[in-house]
C-alpha cells in the first residue's frame, strides 16, 4: 500500500502556529490516534516549529518552514525542514525536570516536551541541499 503524504509550506512566523498545530491534531486523528495523543502530537509539532522560527531563523519572518505529514501503517511521521541554523541529535541535552523545578527559569522545555510526547525525535542535516530536518514520529499502537 502506498503511504499517504502531503506537504505544507508556511512563512517563518509564529502567527501560523495555530494553523500548523490544528493540522497536526487533525492528522493524528486521521492516523488513528486518540484525542489525548493527538493533542500531544500537536504540542510537539508546535515546539518543533517554534524552535525553527525563533532559534534556527532567529525570529526572522521572511523564511520558509516546510512540513510533510506521512501516514504509514505503523506511525504518523511529521518532517519539518528549514534552511536556518541546524542542530544534531547528538548535541541535544534535555533538561532534567527535577532540576528545572529546583531552579526555575524561562525556556528549555520545548525539547523535553517533544521527546516525552513523541516516540522518536530526530534532527538531521542534508549537506546536499543545505536543509536541516526535524523528524517527529508517533507510533500507532
Amino acid at each position: 500500500m502506498d503511504h499517504a503524504q502531503f506537504r505544507l509550506i508556511i512563512p517563518s512566523q509564529t502567527r501560523y502556529l495555530n494553523l500548523v498545530t490544528g493540522l497536526a491534531k487533525r492528522a493524528s486523528l486521521v492516523a488513528g490516534l486518540d484525542e489525548a495523543t493527538a493533542a500531544k502530537v500537536s504540542i510537539a509539532v508546535d515546539e518543533a516549529v517554534t524552535n525553527v522560527i525563533l532559534h534556527a531563523y532567529r525570529g526572522e519572518g521572511e523564511h520558509s518552514v516546510e512540513l510533510e505529514l506521512r501516514f504509514t501503517e505503523k506511525a504518523l511521521e511529521v518532517h519539518i525542514w528549514h534552511t536556518g541554523q541546524g542542530i544534531h541529535s547528538d548535541q541535544l541535552v534535555l533538561p532534567d525536570p527535577k532540576e528545572y523545578i529546583k531552579h526555575p527559569r524561562k525556556g528549555g522545555l520545548g525539547l523535553l516536551l517533544m521527546s516525552r510526547f513523541m516516540d522518536e525525535v530526530q534532527f538531521r542535516a542534508d549537506a546536499a541541499t543545505g536543509r536541516n530536518e526535524c523528524c517527529l514520529i508517533k507510533k500507532i499502537s
Binding site: 509564529t14 502567527r15 502556529l17 495555530n18 498545530t21 489525548a36 493533542a39 500531544k40 500537536s42 504540542i43 508546535d46 515546539e47 517554534t50 522560527i53 525563533l54 525536570p97 527535577k98 528545572y100 523545578i101 526555575p104 527559569r105 524561562k106 525556556g107 528549555g108 522545555l109 520545548g110 523535553l112 516536551l113 516525552r116 510526547f117
Partner: protein, 119 residues
C-alpha cells in the same frame, strides 16, 4: 476568533485570570503581559482558571515560571484550576504539578488561598 483572549476577575485579594484559546509563541506576550500587569500592581495571589484554555506550549509555561519567584517572594502564589486534559498532561509531564497547586474547581482554589488572606 482570536487565538487568545484573557479575562480578569478580582475576588478579594485574589486575581483570577481566565485565558481562553491558545497560548503559544505567538500569543505568549499577551499572556505574559496580563500576568506582569497584576504583579506590577502588587497583586501576588494569582489564580489561573484554565477552563477555556485549549492549549499551552512551553512558551506559556516559561511565562509562568518567569514570575513564580517574584510572586512567592511577596507572600503570594500562582495557583491553577480547571485544567483541560491535555493542558494538565503538559504540566504533569514536566513535573509542574509538584511546583504549582492544581485544583479541579475554582472554589477549591479560592478556599485554599483564603487562609492566607490577611484579616
Amino acid at each position: 476568533m482570536a487565538d487568545l483572549s484573557i479575562a480578569v476577575r478580582h475576588i478579594g485579594d485574589v486575581v483570577v485570570i481566565l485565558p481562553a484559546g491558545f497560548i503559544n509563541a505567538h500569543t505568549v506576550r499577551e499572556f505574559e503581559g496580563a500576568l506582569e500587569s497584576q504583579v506590577q500592581q502588587g497583586r501576588y495571589k494569582i489564580l489561573l482558571n484554565c477552563k477555556d484554555l485549549n492549549y499551552i506550549s512551553s512558551a506559556g509555561l516559561g511565562a509562568i515560571m518567569g514570575l513564580i519567584e517574584t510572586v512567592r517572594d511577596n507572600d503570594g502564589d500562582i495557583l491553577l484550576c480547571e485544567l483541560q486534559e491535555n493542558v494538565f498532561a503538559i504540566f504533569d509531564t514536566l513535573g509542574f504539578t509538584q511546583l504549582y497547586r492544581v485544583f479541579s474547581e475554582e472554589a477549591q482554589a479560592l478556599a485554599a488561598v483564603a487562609p492566607e488572606r490577611k484579616a
